[in-house]
């Protein structure tokens, strides 16, 4: 039997959820031996592949690029896991939603700088993706199969979730976690 294809993706988050996956410690070896990690910040895959069994996504949707990527992932993934509070609720990145994108950019790139490079006085806009007007959780953009809350989710919970998915079961999280943990 071929190994399950797993992907992990980091959208608009802090990487703390990926750190929590690494925090499985030695169990990480156990997982990596059982799966093909086909796309992840940890591997050199060049493009999100087709036919991925499980994709675990950290972070919310903040830019046009995030949105595009998420839609592509959804189309190529059987089981999509919204992993951590940013993906599930928008969490800290969505604190920006009470400000306009212009105000965010103005603070960082006009008020809090002392010099401008070529083109002087401009803000980032060339060769970088545009921010969406508001930060959104994943399920407002695509269908999500499994929600794992936490900032970040605890490593034990992550291992349980992956083991269940690897064995073809939908993880039952009722006794394992709740919002606010």
């Amino acid at each position: 039997m071929s190994k399950m294809k797993i992907a992990t993706v980091w959208l608009d988050g802090c990487s703390g959820c990926h750190m929590s996956m690494f925090d499985m410690d030695e169990k990480l070896i156990d997982i990596l031996e059982k799966v093909d990690l086909v796309y992840s910040p940890l591997v050199d895959a060049k493009e999100f592949p087709e036919g991925v069994d499980v994709t675990v996504i950290e972070g919310g949707v903040g830019s046009e690029e995030d949105k595009h990527m998420l839609e592509l992932i959804r189309a190529r993934t059987h089981m999509l896991v919204s992993y951590g509070d940013c993906a599930v609720t928008g969490n800290v990145p969505s604190l920006r939603n009470r400000f306009s994108v212009d105000d965010l950019i103005k603070r960082s790139y006009i008020e809090n700088v002392s010099a401008h490079g070529d083109g002087g006085g401009n803000v980032p806009g060339d060769a970088v993706p545009r921010l969406l007007p508001v930060e959104r959780p994943l399920h407002e953009v695509v269908r999500v199969d499994v929600f794992i809350p936490g900032c970040p989710p605890r490593p034990g919970l992550t291992y349980f979730m992956l083991k269940e998915l690897l064995e073809g079961r939908m993880p039952d999280l009722k006794e394992k976690t709740r919002f606010g943990l």
Binding site: V9, W10, L11, D12, G13, C14, S15, G16, C17, H18, M19, D23, D25, E26, L28, I29, L32, L37, P41, L42, V43, D44, A45, K46, E47, E50, G59, E65, H68, M69, A75, R76, H78, N91, V92, L95, R96, R98, F99, L104, I105, K106, R107, S108, N112, V113, A115, H116, G117, D118, G119, N122, V123, P124, G125, A127, P129, C151, P152, R154
Partner: protein, 473 residues
């Protein structure tokens, strides 16, 4: 398993950062640019929040070094209060910070970079990752996982959880240390030190094989910035800032961190969300400097612990004056792990650490506070202003990776010039372009208060502006 997978038309999949390489009319590389492509806006959206929430909110800038952000933030809040942190609280903050250096440096070295050293820069990309290292060098992989785990478990013991611990607060920390935790942390130091020394041993032996990388990986003169204490000792948590020039000569010493604005300017360019700090007296063209382990070793005169200092002396002998090759960031990083472990042991053996008075209390006595510290990747600056109710009115953040932006760009250009010939990027060259960035251990998440690190779009652009070759990663 899926009954059917719908594949949408494939368009270019961009990652979080990209690199463009400009070719001249004769086919040689003339310029290169690293574009960081995500932005979150912490400097604005913290406005209106109570100052005491800041250590928790800003921890979410980065899950790799949340302790550094919490600490720099708490130090800014200490300054808003105008209090001195009680002795035991100060030591506990330091222990958590050192534990974070251990885990973050272990992550950078083992999980992200070791595949380049162990499998080879030109190895099959499908194998050149942690899973490949686990298969081929299981003992080394276990060493890395175990070392990182130790650092994370110390943070969990003292801070409540591994990522985004909640014990660091204005005025100190919440809970005193228990005897059980003290013993647990101390017991873990000797085995962790063994791993660190063993790793440094094989890394030093492998250096010979990386002559080409040492020569070309961001190997150029710049200024360097870092903290020192006791007039020249390596410092990770506090101290005074020191700038040295490319020859290793001190150009400005004893800079009070809260005066950073006199020395550091921030430049913005339109093609990246990452700003470029520079040494103000020289302007943004000349004021390029580096921070992080290599810079800290260049600015310091000694380490205050025995084994680390022996290694430090050997490191300093690599070059007369400052060590310029960014490849040696890895080397300095490994020695810093040893220093962090030895220093933790000193702090935990200080009887004062068991005192139950770990936090001072006050109200805002100042409307402005600046907190500065070394993070694993370099100098970290948090600067807040509050109103009379203690609500944040203004935030400026200068993050370690930002300081290195100008140097990373120049490093990419150097590698590209050396390894790219013609209008196509070979796999080995591609990996080296990424590896030079990896040497800086950039935390793109931190740096733009954003992002994912390992996705790149690399474009080779011809003299007329057309894209000749592009690679997604």
């Amino acid at each position: 398993m899926p009954d059917k997978i719908v594949i949408s038309p494939v368009t270019r999949v961009e990652g979080h950062s990209k690199i463009t390489i400009q070719l001249g009319s004769d086919g040689t590389v003339v310029d290169a640019h690293l574009h960081i492509t995500q932005f979150r806006g912490f400097e604005k959206f913290c406005e209106g929040r109570p100052y005491y929430e800041m250590p928790y909110i800003v921890a979410r800038i980065c899950g790799i070094c949340p302790v550094s952000h919490s600490l720099a933030s708490a130090k800014a809040c200490d300054a808003i209060w105008g209090v001195k942190v009680p002795y035991a609280g100060d030591l506990l903050r330091r222990v958590m910070h050192l534990a974070q250096f251990v885990q973050s440096h272990a992550l950078s070295f083992f999980h992200l970079s070791s595949p380049d050293f162990l499998m080879g820069m030109d190895a099959d990309p499908a194998e050149r990752n942690l899973a490949g290292v686990i298969r081929k060098y299981p003992d080394i992989a276990r060493d890395g996982i175990s070392l990182r785990s130790y650092g994370q478990q110390v943070i969990e013991r003292l801070g409540g959880k591994r990522v985004h611990p909640s014990e660091i607060v204005p005025g100190g920390v919440i809970s005193p240390l228990s005897e059980e935790d003290r013993e647990w942390v101390l017991a873990g130091i000797p085995p962790a030190l063994q791993i660190a020394e063993r790793t440094l041993g094989w890394f030093k032996q492998s250096i010979e094989e990386h002559r080409e990388e040492i020569r070309t990986f961001g190997n150029f003169p710049t200024l360097f910035l870092g903290h020192v204490r006791d007039r020249g000792s390596l410092a990770l948590y506090d101290g005074l800032l020191r700038f040295i020039d490319a020859s290793g000569k001190i150009i400005h010493d004893d800079i009070e961190p809260q005066h950073y604005e006199r020395w550091i300017g921030e430049m913005v360019d339109t093609e990246s969300y990452l700003k470029s700090p520079y040494f103000k007296p020289l302007g943004h063209a000349e004021g390029i400097y580096r921070v992080g382990p290599l810079a800290r070793f260049n600015v310091a005169d000694r380490c205050s612990t025995a084994t680390a200092n022996r290694e430090f002396v050997e490191f300093k002998a690599l070059e007369r004056g400052a060590v310029h090759s960014s490849f040696f960031y890895h080397y300095a990083r490994l020695i810093e792990i040893i220093y962090a472990l030895e220093r933790m042991e000193q702090l935990l053996n200080d009887p004062g650490i068991m005192n139950s008075h770990v936090r001072a209390f006050a109200s805002p006595n100042n409307t402005e506070g600046i907190g500065v510290s070394e993070a694993p990747r370099g100098t970290l600056i948090h600067h807040y202003k509050v109103d009379e109710n203690g609500l944040i009115t203004w935030v400026d953040l200068i993050i370690a990776t930002g300081h290195n932006n100008l140097a990373m760009n120049r490093g990419v250009l150097q590698v590209a010039k050396h390894f790219i010939r013609g209008d196509k990027i070979e796999e080995g060259a591609l990996n080296r372009i990424e590896a030079v960035i990896r040497a800086f251990d950039p935390c793109l998440s931190c740096s733009t208060h954003a992002v994912g690190a390992s996705n790149y779009l690399i474009q080779l652009i011809g003299p007329d502006g057309e894209v000749l070759h592009s690679v997604n990663r």
